[in-house]
């Protein structure tokens, strides 16, 4: 046939070409597209691991997710914050970058080393087609940390600072060549709001609304021990975690990845503790630690959550603060030794003092050590006893170095109940009683945290902090159902004094409570109330059974139903807290307020409160009181059952 239609030839040619080169063309399809294709087949972007690494969390109302990370550079795709699929594909593409590592810049494989590691495991990168970057900086960093374990660090509350009960948490990376005696050399990883703000109020407000960037940073653990144990006098609890070497590596890789990244910092939820949980989840993706803390992450509650996980905590270590050590060692001393400590630490006596010279070498060592530590305590709390405390401190230590003997005191005993083992921090109560001749049923809800009558194990003695305590009562007749009180904030610190420690006790609360008027009505009145006080322990030991206290309190009430729309009062409160048994506590109190300005009145209140602990999370209370307002007096009796969770 002379004529061959050209189209046939063309098609034939094409077919030949395809046959010959087809496979090659397919193989020549960029490796990145193959990887992306495979990632789609495996639906990697839907995996929990990917969501953990990217900190994706479900949207509140609309379907879909968004990442908690707020730094643009954390995302390689323009819509990476909300689109896991496109972020994963952009990440794969970025791994082909040939950017060389410098001191300020990293190749994406190194900057996102945790993502690289996971995607490599899932997709099996071919090093011939996707050359592996050396990531020298990451490797050297990891070698310096030389990780063998991860420990969750929880500084407990400091005395006379109830707010510190909420605590702070950080992670410690324990190196292979360290042991119990050299743990100070480990590195700590801390997540905190990054700001130079020194105005506490501005700091608080900005923090509430995410006004600061939260960032991970690291520092030697000894700085943190010095800060908490020595400066803030807070005991530290260390929870060694049971992580496999791979999981520890994942923590480190992810920390590295988050190093330059910020998250908007919110004090209440997206705070230090929340992100540490996220780190642990990235290490072990099947852990679910964060879901309970979407709205409210109290550091001590996050510690409980970690402890609750099966086999996650290997063991715990207690590191007493300087204050705790001094207090304990003073308790072991004779009165003569104590008075020597008191005078030597203030430079009023020296080693040539006859009383000191007469002691055994071991007692001399003890007196000098405690004198030094107590002087350090005074310096840390801003009350230097002498003009040059550093020189006095040095003198005490030089004297100590001349004594070969040891002070020989036993170590501070570990508290029987850890902070994570105390009662739950939320509370609901139901009770019934009679007030001024009317029976009532009361329902009380307190979202957080601890009051003086709650079971004390695991908490700081004398410290109370509560947020949004709400009591509603239903009276049998006449009044009906009404809000009895709503207290957004209440703090009480009863800090006992002795020859060595002279803290000021204090209290402050604000909210709405019932006040009786002359006409017999009881409006819900806004008030701010508080004042300073003094307290003592009897006997004077850290865990004594009785606290007695006295306060001078003032009250400002504001309400249109008050005469002149306000009332301003002042008056004393005295009371005693007494543990009759380990479970049974009683508090007797008497309180008077003289309202001298605005709506004047003289009111008082005396009462007895009792609590009996049934179980860690259950307690019974029985309160009786008699009070007087606007020349009318009445009694109240209330029996209630409290459940902590």
């Amino acid at each position: 046939m002379p004529f061959r239609p050209r189209p046939w030839r063309a098609i034939l040619c094409l077919l030949c070409l395809l046959c010959l080169f087809g496979p090659c063309v397919a193989e020549a399809a960029p490796y990145v597209d193959q990887l992306i294709g495979r990632s789609r087949e495996l639906r990697l972007s839907e995996r929990r691991e990917w969501h953990r690494l990217m900190h994706y969390t479900s949207n509140l109302i609309t379907p879909g997710v968004h990442s908690l990370a707020d730094a643009r550079r954390f995302f390689l795709a323009p819509d990476g914050k909300t689109n896991p699929q496109s972020e994963l594909e952009a990440t794969l593409a970025a791994f082909f970058s040939d950017v060389q590592e410098t001191d300020k810049e990293q190749n994406p494989q190194c900057a996102f080393v945790a993502r690289y590691s996971w995607l490599d495991r899932e997709l099996g990168f071919d090093p011939a087609q996707l050359p592996k970057q050396p990531c020298k900086r990451f490797r050297e960093w990891r070698e310096t940390l030389n990780p063998q374990g991860v420990t969750l660090i929880f500084p407990a509350a400091s005395l006379n600072n109830p707010g510190s009960m909420y605590g702070h948490t950080l992670l410690r990376i324990d190196a292979k060549d360290q042991d119990e005696k050299t743990r100070l050399l480990a590195y700590a990883i801390n997540y905190a709001a990054n700001t130079d703000e020194t105005n506490g109020i501005a700091f608080a407000i900005n923090g509430l609304f995410g006004g600061y960037p939260g960032m991970f940073s690291m520092m030697p653990y000894y700085l943190k021990v010095r800060e908490y144990n020595d400066m803030e006098n807070r005991d530290i609890w260390e929870y060694e975690l049971n992580l496999s070497p791979e999981e520890i590596d994942r923590v480190l890789m992810h920390v590295w990845e988050l190093g330059p990244i910020y998250f908007d910092y919110y004090f209440f939820d997206e705070n230090c503790s929340y992100y540490l949980l996220e780190l642990l989840e990235a290490a072990r993706p099947d852990l679910d630690l964060t879901s309970d803390f979407r709205w409210w992450a109290i550091p001590s509650d996050t510690v409980r959550e970690v402890v609750r996980q099966k086999d996650l905590v290997k063991r715990t270590v207690y590191r007493p603060s300087n204050f705790t050590v001094i207090h304990y060692r003073l308790e072991l001393m004779s009165p003569e030794e104590q008075s020597l400590v008191s005078s030597m630490s203030r430079g009023r006596a020296s080693a040539s003092d006859p009383g000191f010279a007469g002691l055994t070498p071991s007692a001399q060592a003890r007196v000098l050590e405690v004198s030094h530590d107590y002087l350090s305590y005074l310096r840390a709390t801003g009350s230097n006893p002498v003009a040059d405390p550093a020189e006095l401190s040095r003198t005490l230590l030089l004297e100590r170095s001349r004594i070969g003997a040891s002070g020989n005191d036993p170590p501070v005993p570990v508290p029987e109940v850890r902070p994570d083992q105390g009662h739950g921090t939320s509370r609901v109560s139901i009770g019934g009683g009679r007030r001024d001749g009317l029976n009532f049923v009361e329902l009380r809800v307190r979202p957080t945290y601890h009051d003086l009558m709650d079971p004390e194990a695991g908490y700081v003695r004398g410290a109370q902090i509560e947020f949004f305590d709400l009591a509603v009562r239903d009276y049998s007749n006449g009044i009906g159902t009404r809000v009895e009180e709503l207290t957004p904030l209440r703090i009480v610190s009863i800090a006992p004094r002795n020859a060595f420690f002279q803290p000021l006790s204090w209290k402050i609360d604000t909210g709405w409570s019932r006040r009786r008027l002359e006409n017999g009505s009881e409006p819900l009145v806004f008030n701010v109330h508080g004042g300073p006080g003094l307290a003592w322990s009897v006997p004077d030991t850290l865990r004594s059974s009785t606290l007695i206290y006295g306060f001078v309190e003032s009250t400002l009430q504001a309400d249109t139903r008050l005469e002149h729309n306000y009332a301003l009062g002042i008056g004393p409160r005295i009371g005693a807290l007494l543990d009759l048994t380990g479970r049974w506590r009683a508090e007797a109190y008497a309180y008077e307020q003289s309202f001298f300005a605005g709506d004047t009145d003289r009111s008082w209140n005396v009462g007895l409160r009792q609590r009996y602990t049934l179980d860690r999370d259950w307690a019974l209370r029985f309160d009786i009181s008699r009070e007087r307002q606007e020349k009318q007096s009445w009694n109240t009796v209330l029996l209630s059952l409290h459940y902590y969770f």
């Binding site: 001191d103 300020k104 990293q106 900086r137 050297e140 960093w141 310096t144 940390l145 006379n160 600072n161 707010g163 909420y166 060549d177 360290q178 005696k181 050299t182 743990r183 100070l184 050399l185 801390n190 905190a192 709001a193 506490g200 700091f203 608080a204 923090g207 509430l208 940073s217 690291m218 520092m219 000894y222 700085l223 010095r226 800060e227 020595d230 400066m231 988050l258 190093g259 330059p260 004090f267 705070n271 550091p299 060592a365 050590e369 030094h372 350090s376 310096r379 840390a380 801003g382 020189e391 040095r394 230590l397 100590r400 170095s401 040891s406 002070g407 703090i491 610190s493 000021l504 204090w506």
Partner: protein
């Protein structure tokens, strides 16, 4: 006699030699030790503010900055910065002749287990030289080096400070 000799050697050294040569000034922790806050206001405000420790922290991947590399202390600075961050505790442990801070220092310098007792004894005997009145971290580092160098058994460790 030996003590006097060491003291003489140390005082002959320009106190700032080490500091200048190695620029410890920019390397310390900017120690906020003994900068305590007292009173009620900081406590009340402390209630709603999680603790942030600003200047003592290092960002993790910022490359070289002062004496750290990507958030960890460069190895040449480990000992000096440890002494700087633990001065009071270290002086205390040295004067007692044992303790966690002293153990950590010995580990950092690489003192072997069999030399620990000697190390503890020697620093205890020389604590006044290692922490002279009004001493800076630089002074203490130089003095510690000298004290170790002057001891027959411990001189091998002087170089690792």
């Amino acid at each position: 006699m030996k003590k006097i000799l060491i003291a003489a050697v140390i005082s002959a050294l320009p106190a700032f030699a080490f500091a200048q040569q190695n620029n410890i000034g920019t390397c310390g922790w900017g120690s906020k030790l003994f900068d305590g806050q007292s009173g009620i206001a900081p406590q009340v405000l402390g209630v709603t503010t999680n603790n942030s420790t600003g200047n003592q922290t290092f960002a993790i991947t910022t490359g070289t900055s002062g004496c750290t590399q990507d958030g960890v202390v460069k190895s040449t600075w480990k000992t000096a910065m440890f002494i700087d961050g633990n001065k009071d505790r270290l002086a205390r442990d040295m004067s007692i002749g044992n303790g966690e801070t002293l153990d950590s220092l010995a580990h950092l310098i690489g003192v072997r287990e069999e030399d620990r007792a000697t190390f503890n004894r020697v620093v205890q005997a020389n604590v006044s030289l290692i922490f002279p009145s009004g001493s800076t971290t630089g002074d203490s580092v130089v003095a510690l080096k000298q004290v170790l160098r002057s001891d027959r058994e411990l001189s091998q460790y002087a170089a690792s400070i």
